[in-house]
Symmetry: C2
Subunit: 478 residues, 2 copies
């Protein structure tokens, strides 16, 4: 029998006590997550069926809910916060980020307009300006220029907004007014993220109007192929309007040659968006900033502190060189949201910088992270991750059963068994089924490829070493 | 001098200690928020300038950050969690919600696919099924039917997705493939939320293709006007495809007649989306469920637990009667996201139910809220809010300097000074400048109107009484 309680609100004293229980649960989870099987092994429906079919009529205290977190939820969790998580990309949290986000929940403000809570807008402006300095981004991305930055939920939403701004610009606003009637065409490399395809569907441009540009042997976009495609499309009466170049593709972390691509875009009057979702964080370190060469030529840029910068999802930093096209494509001003500050044009209203109206105070977690670690603290962790990935690559290289399939200047190593696709896939399944680590896969040059991405907050060198031993052991027994 | 710390990660022991400090800060904020001026009075730039121009090179402990929350952030906060907040709509938090969201931050999982953390998907399915039962929504919104529900960030994003699904359906997928070339037209009442206009811009349909349907004297959509507009558009060669009806408009909480609108939609083969952003929560109480009559005839439906249901932003519950059109318009499957469970069609992959790819474990806060309050606890609070709004309306009615401008069956009262626009606007400014309460405004029938919305978690009858006294006092001294 669960203890019943009245339906009244939780008072501050109870919040303190229940909050401590929850904090302890989380701290204890972080202490033991290393020992949990990384990849959940529940079957479809297991978690759903473990919860009651009907909602409870009467309430219970939080202390009665916590045991169900262990019983019902944890078996269905794939542990993204495990030090043994090397799949996809990191989606890091950290103590300061969790606590910064907790303050955001506690304050519970809506930052849709400057006027609805000025600090929510202005702390965000400052944090995004700090990031410009921290990553060495161009000054025109600062909030006090004609451009500026905003926090969005994801790189997919950021690229959608870049597409909308570019569409606004090339159609002179007509697509926002009358609908998108022009034969617009967008370009990205054939290694880039699938969200471009989704964004073009959403924006009413159609996925058939996305051109996938050829890549070189290092999986980076060929600017001469881009230029040829643009010329062909123009000759065919199409209207090239948008290029998404990638600093660190999802598959292999390939680096598109931004300066050459920017030159093609400039020549043809096409908007250049640069997506540096994970790899953007590397630019914190001056020695990796070469990956960002040419970013000053981009019209927009996005990276995700919620991937590799120890900041909980959601936190994508999205920048535009000139905010006008973006705002024109997203602004609508009903009477009930009118206010003096906005009417005077004295402030930024971030609701006009993305699709949703409501917005959470997400800058607090960034503020907590940057204050807690300091720039040097963040740099030191990024350096370690890159160093460990390089060590991992050296071990793979030294084992002649394996081959590496792509350059690995940062924290991702793409490799496979020389024995081929089937053996590599069996290796992946075996390793993941062990629960000792979790890696994911992709295809490079048509080959089944394993991806080993070092970037989890809790990962240490010993975990990377153990992972390699597990992988080797799994090959031995294939 | 701030205490410096090394750049290393926060360990669990430090997390426990720093976490307690943050919890105490939040509990203390909730204890004193009642006494703080509700509306922030900072000037543009104040908060921005109060933060250092450059990011810190070295880190500091969280205890060094918290004083800056008081010094820099709080003056720029408009207190949405104050019991004296009656503006716009409530954007509630509550103890259980804050703690459920804290667990989500601590687990830090990505729920983009079922396979990336099955519990994140299946707890969400179950919570949305619970809400179907709690609100008396039709069974075809349950996850085990051909329809289902998903958590989105906002009602704007939900209606965008409804538009995309409707566009997919009427164009037979062509708009997703080739772009949106057909002369589509959407409809909503002239009292409805501006996000429809924004959504149509985003979707490449154009805001000129949004028709604002006339309303009756109670600000509810006239179905006969809708039908006439659809007929006129068809005659002019346009393609009507989408109607958004509203249960509780933003301006005055007007209730569109859903059954009659649904009949028009059925007859003309038009998708019906029902937006019940705030008022949806009222359906928790059987006696207010009449507001939802006809919802079983809708193709999609959304309401925001993050408004009136004591659940932190972001949490919009979005339902579709048939999930196919939605998924077809948003699904893309790259190799690096392929997995056995998805390929087998055995699971829901929520990334195909909204625009962003990444997603947070937002169902946890709903689970905590529903478990903590129980259905009865939630109902009792909603009943109180409605009751207090009715009392407030009776006081306004009894004061012959005021008039009420719209029906007020739920928790919003629209009123003004009979003396006219200028006097009413001066009253608003005076009341809000007092810091004792915060109300917002709209225009009804062209008249400047004050909106008094009762729904904040911490509001009690005594606050509503004090608010009315402040308003009366302000009129006396105008």
């Amino acid at each position: 029998m669960e203890e019943e309680k009245s339906g009244f609100h939780m008072q501050p004293a109870e919040f303190r006590d229940a909050g401590r229980e929850v904090l302890d649960w989380i701290a204890s989870y972080h202490e033991r997550v290393e020992g949990l099987p990384v990849l959940s092994s529940v079957a479809p429906g297991d978690t759903y069926r473990a919860l009651p079919d009907h909602p409870p009529i009467t309430g219970v205290p939080i202390s009665s809910v916590l045991p169900d977190l262990d019983r019902v939820v944890l078996p269905g969790i794939t542990h993204w916060q495990s030090p043994n998580f090397y799949a996809y990309f990191p989606s890091n949290n950290s103590g300061p980020s969790i606590l910064g986000d907790l303050v955001s929940s506690g304050l519970g403000v809506q930052g849709m307009l400057w006027a609805t809570s000025p600090a929510c807008t202005e702390v965000e402006m400052k944090m995004l300006d700090w990031l410009v300095e921290m990553l060495g981004l161009p000054d025109h991305f600062r909030s006090e220029s004609v451009g500026g930055g905003v926090i969005q939920d994801s790189a997919s939403s950021a690229s959608l907004c870049a597409i909308l701004a570019a569409r606004e610009q090339i159609t002179g606003g007509a697509s926002n007014e009358e609908g998108c009637r022009m034969p617009l065409v967008a370009y990205t490399s054939n290694q880039a993220h699938s969200h471009l395809e989704k964004d073009l569907k959403v924006a009413g441009i159609g996925r058939k109007n996305l051109r996938l540009v050829e890549v070189d042997r290092e999986f980076a976009m060929r600017p001469e192929s881009l230029e040829q495609m643009i010329a062909d499309d123009k000759a065919a009466g199409m209207l090239p309007f948008f290029v998404c170049a990638t600093i660190g593709t999802t598959s292999s972390l390939a680096l598109d040659p931004i300066p050459a691509i920017a030159e093609v875009c400039r020549k043809h009057g096409v908007w250049l968006h640069v997506d540096a979702a994970m790899a953007g964080t590397a630019a914190l370190c001056p020695e990796f900033r070469w990956t960002h060469k040419g970013v000053d030529l981009a019209d927009s840029y996005a990276f995700n502190p919620h991937k590799w910068m120890f900041t909980n999802f959601d936190c994508t930093a999205f920048y535009v060189k000139d905010r006008r096209a973006l705002i024109n494509s997203l602004s609508v001003v009903p009477e009930y949201l009118r206010n003096q500050a906005s009417d005077a044009g004295a402030v930024i209203d971030y609701r006009d910088w993305h699709v949703p109206l409501g917005r959470r105070f997400r800058a607090l977690k960034l503020w907590f992270v940057i204050r807690y670690y300091g720039v040097q603290g963040l740099q030191s962790h990024i350096r370690q991750h890159v160093e460990w990935a390089q060590e991992f690559a050296s071990w793979v290289n030294a084992d002649n059963r394996f081959e590496i399939l792509a350059p690995h200047p940062l924290n991702l190593v793409c490799f496979r068994l020389k024995a081929g696709d089937e053996a590599s896939e069996r290796l992946l399944k075996k390793v993941n089924a062990s629960g000792k680590l979790f890696i994911s896969h992709t295809k490079l040059d048509g080959k089944y490829t394993l991806r080993f991405c070092v970037g989890q907050t809790r990962t240490e060198l010993r975990h990377v070493q153990a992972a390699w031993e597990t992988i080797q052991g799994a090959v031995d027994s294939l």
